[in-house]
């Protein structure tokens, strides 16, 4: 009986201890995410709207973003960089929008992305979102442009 209550008390006390440390560290991480790893002054309404479109279309159930999501389609956290956005902003924007407009490819034996019929403004929102995501400080991930 004695050892059981000791085990129980260690469980309750220890779990509370680790939870408090965890909450403290996430509070700091929250501050860090808003001020250090991202620049919230660049988080425009268009970026926020682009994120909403990203969610409404359930993009994450084919693609990954910062490595999280489905593994059916390419990583998009760095797609802006992969499309050369850091060198040629306009070119990358047009290329990304054209890519989305031209889906599905219909090629036999090739994975198909649906046609979402986004307006010109919505396409720009989505590109703004993907561009913003590429500026997040991710400790150097992914290892290369391939994502």
């Amino acid at each position: 009986m004695h050892t059981k209550s000791a085990a129980r008390n260690i469980f309750y006390g220890g779990s509370l201890f680790f939870l408090l440390i965890f909450f403290g560290l996430t509070a700091h991480s929250h501050y860090y995410a808003k001020n250090v790893s991202t620049d919230e002054t660049t988080l425009t309404e268009s970026v926020a709207h682009g994120k909403k479109i990203w969610e409404d279309k359930s993009c994450v159930n084919c693609h990954t973003i910062l490595g999280e999501g489905a593994y059916f389609a390419p990583e998009l956290g760095n797609v802006w960089i992969r499309f050369g956005g850091n060198d040629d902003e306009e070119g990358a924007r047009e290329a990304l929008k054209d890519w989305m407009k031209n889906q599905p490819s219909g090629i036999e034996g090739r994975r198909q992305m649906p046609q979402f019929n986004l307006t010109e403004a919505e396409l720009d929102n989505l590109v703004d979102f993907l561009k913003w995501v590429s500026t997040i400080d991710t400790n150097g991930w992914p290892p290369n442009e391939a994502g």
């Binding site: 009986m1 059981k4 085990a7 129980r8 260690i10 469980f11 220890g14 779990s15 680790f18 939870l19 440390i21 965890f22 996430t26 700091h28 991480s29 929250h30 860090y32 995410a33 808003k34 250090v36 790893s37 991202t38 919230e40 994120k51 909403k52 990203w54 969610e55 409404d56 279309k57 359930s58 994450v60 159930n61 084919c62 990954t64 973003i65 910062l66 490595g67 999280e68 489905a70 593994y71 059916f72 390419p74 990583e75 599905p104 036999e108 090739r110 994975r111 198909q112 649906p114 995501v133 997040i136 400080d137 991710t138 400790n139 150097g140 991930w141 992914p142 290369n144 442009e145 391939a146």
Partner: protein, 454 residues
Amino acid sequence: MKYQSQKIAIAYFAVAMALFAVQVLGGLLAGFIYVFPNFLADLVPFSVVRMVHTNALVVWLILGFFGAAYYLVPEEAEREIYSPKIAYLQLIILTVGTLGAVITYVFNLFEGNVVLGLQGREFLEQPLWVKLGIIVAALLFLFNISMTVLKGRKTAITNVLLLGLWGIAIFFLFSLYVPDNLVLDKMYWWYVVHLWVEGVWELVMASILAFLLLKLTGVDREVVEKWVYVIVALALFSGVLGTGHHYYWIGTPKYWTWIGSIFSAMEVVPFFAMVVFAFTMVWKGGRNHPNRAAVLWALGSAVMAFFGAGVWGFLHTLHGINFFTHGTQITAAHGHLAFFGAYVSINLAIITYSIPYLLKREPYNQVLNMVSFWIMNSAMAFMTVVLTFAGVIQTHLQRVNGDYFMDVQDQLSLFYAMRFGAGAIFVIGALLFIYAIFVPRKELISAPSTAPAE
């Protein structure tokens, strides 16, 4: 079955098994699309198939937990469930919500609507009205079970089970917070996903496993309960700060690479403890329980959880390795074996144990059930190995050599074909299990002549 209200579990298990069938058939379809990517592409995109696969899984596992609670709490608390009516109302809410979510996904209804449309964050895609329904149902459940426990006998098993179920409800609240900043979005998304499956769900698993071992082996309750507290302590001590292994590459501070690596490396310990616990109890207990299938599933669950969640989790959890493997088929391999071993198997174990009592068929033929055990376990083991090989190749070609995603995927087609084959076998095993559970059969083998069930 000693208490009338334990019958509530039948309804929960029935809905859970229906969703289990939906889940594995959805998975099979998704695996087929990997092999034949043009199939259904214009009608049902891969994303929708995957949502059905993952959402059905999560909902049926939780329904199984609820069913398990309604079955075991009366026996532990030594009294009837506080209100069977509330229990059935809760099931109706959850069933309506689940059907609503599936219909919303498949027919793409109310797209963009804040209340009615899907919310496309992985695993938390349920429309807001469904999420609120889930919260209401969870509160009904917690009220009902807490009232039962408070008025009855308090045991370590019900303590830990209740704590786990309260944790599930509390951390689910973070699914309502959807900030515009993707880093914050991801950080709190893991409050639900990680603190569920690598935190409070382990409490539920440990308590169900303890209940089963208590009933199946006849080992002294004191011994079992001491083990339970040790296991759940190990689970939370490692698992809470182990959340850090999801905070390496999403824009959170660098100190998480070390905290996450160290603590998540220790997440294997509670799973190893569960293996030792299960085998020691069965070996020490010496009772030859007639429900051999339930013993098999209980031991199988501990072993496969150890490999899936423990070993396969450890394989890619250190940040130096995860830098290359993050978000590849390695993760898929780990995810499949971990969910199957830990949470699918513990659910199938409690269902296998309780159904003969609930349907008054004891002892009954469980040969088919045991056949389904070996089919499902072999198929899942094979699938895990195949995906692991695919992941290693993908990691090398894409993350080390820098080849483009689709070029790499084309080179993995053989593995995806084998994964589909393993999936097809698994589906046969799953359907056989459901058949064996719900369709009564005459006994084919003679029951052991030892002591009957507790």
